[in-house]
């Protein structure tokens, strides 16, 4: 190998090493559970909820023509307890503006869901997720996760982690005004009890 070839090879190997180092350094910290949803910009899945206590069936498509906030949560999820009061306040504040908040209990027993609601309060419909069909349809990777669906039934944003009243209200304000909204990551999601 001539000295010139050797320099070219060493430089090429060095460049590849640097590129790989940058890729690994930037991607290793990324949690795939907090990735953006491929559902953004696409129609919301056609799921039907079995509402707790009433036993009524609520197809999400019945809420077409309204903005729908779909919150996946679980009674065993610690961040879900923290966000519950904000979701109650959100449902109350935006109820007159044709905004529906819907809770979907992920990987939960109905008794535990009712106990959670007894403890922290009721204010919007909560449905059980039979065989995780709603969670699979939305591509849920953990709880809490909140999806914003516009009046046309299109998913426009996803919030991974606990949602605050401020963030939810700001997102809804922009949707009502017809402005573009962005997904966000507010913290960790919990995958198992």
């Amino acid at each position: 190998m001539t000295p010139r070839t050797r320099i070219v090879v060493i430089t090429a190997v060095g460049l590849i090493t640097v590129v790989l180092a940058v890729v690994f350094a930037t991607r290793f910290g990324a949690d795939p559970r907090l990735s953006p949803s491929p559902l953004i910009g696409r129609p919301a899945p056609d799921v039907t909820l079995d509402l707790v206590e009433s036993g009524e069936m609520l197809p999400l498509h019945d809420l077409r023509d309204q903005i729908v906030v779909v919150n996946f949560w679980a009674p065993w999820c610690v961040p879900c307890r923290a966000e519950h009061a904000d979701l109650l306040a959100l449902a109350e504040s935006f109820g007159d503006l044709e905004v529906s908040v819907v809770g979907i209990a992920y990987q939960s027993r109905e008794d535990d869901v009712i106990a959670f609601l007894d403890d922290l309060g009721r204010g919007y419909p909560v449905g059980m997720d039979e065989r995780s069909r709603a969670a699979i349809g939305f591509g849920v990777r953990g709880v809490p996760e909140t999806y914003f669906v516009d009046r046309n039934g299109t998913v426009v944003a996803k919030i991974s982690g606990p949602i605050s009243l401020g963030l939810a209200a700001a997102t809804l304000d922009r949707m009502i005004m017809g402005d573009p909204v962005e997904s966000a990551r507010t913290g960790e999601v919990q995958t198992t009890p």
Binding site: P32, P36, Q107, R131, I136, G139, R141
Partner: protein
């Protein structure tokens, strides 16, 4: 009748060719097994579940994970297969909901192509380099080089 005798040592060239053939045969077997393994599986549901990553796990497949979500996903795949969905339709359904990260093996197209092409490219480059070095080593020694070698040997005490 077999006669015991001294085996002649193999030349470097034969050893190299043999090694390359063994490597090429191993790669060919691996590629053939990977390419045909899933479609010939007696259990399509299990084969599909092995290709999909459990969404709440780090690197476990839907088939291997003991989580309830994985069991629900497995059950959905069973229903989709029973309803006549093709393998591609089922895989696309999960990519549409969870993204391409749901695949345990990255797709051959797009950004995933780099992961498939890079090892093959590295192997090809390595092969070219080795072949180049051998070609250089195997060439005839020129008269000028013979004279120089002879001169150098004469200098030795």
């Amino acid at each position: 009748m077999f006669r015991a005798g001294r085996l002649r040592p193999l030349s470097d060239r034969i050893r190299t060719i043999t090694a390359l053939l063994v490597i090429a045969a191993s790669l060919a077997i691996t590629v053939v097994v990977l390419a045909t393994g899933s479609s010939d599986s007696p259990d399509r549901v299990h084969a599909l579940a092995e290709r999909l990553k459990c969404p709440i796990c780090t690197s476990e497949s839907v088939a291997d994970s003991p989580s309830q979500v994985a069991r629900d996903l497995y059950e959905l795949i069973e229903e989709q297969v029973a309803d006549g969905w093709t393998d591609d339709e089922i895989v696309e359904f999960f990519i549409d909901t969870y993204g391409e990260q749901v695949l345990l093996d990255p797709k051959a197209g797009g950004a995933g192509a780099v992961l498939w092409i890079a090892p093959i490219a590295a192997l090809a480059i390595g092969g070219v380099v080795i072949a180049g070095r051998h070609a250089r080593n195997d060439r005839e020694i020129t008269d000028a080089e013979k004279e120089r070698i002879a001169a150098e040997l004469e200098k030795r005490p």
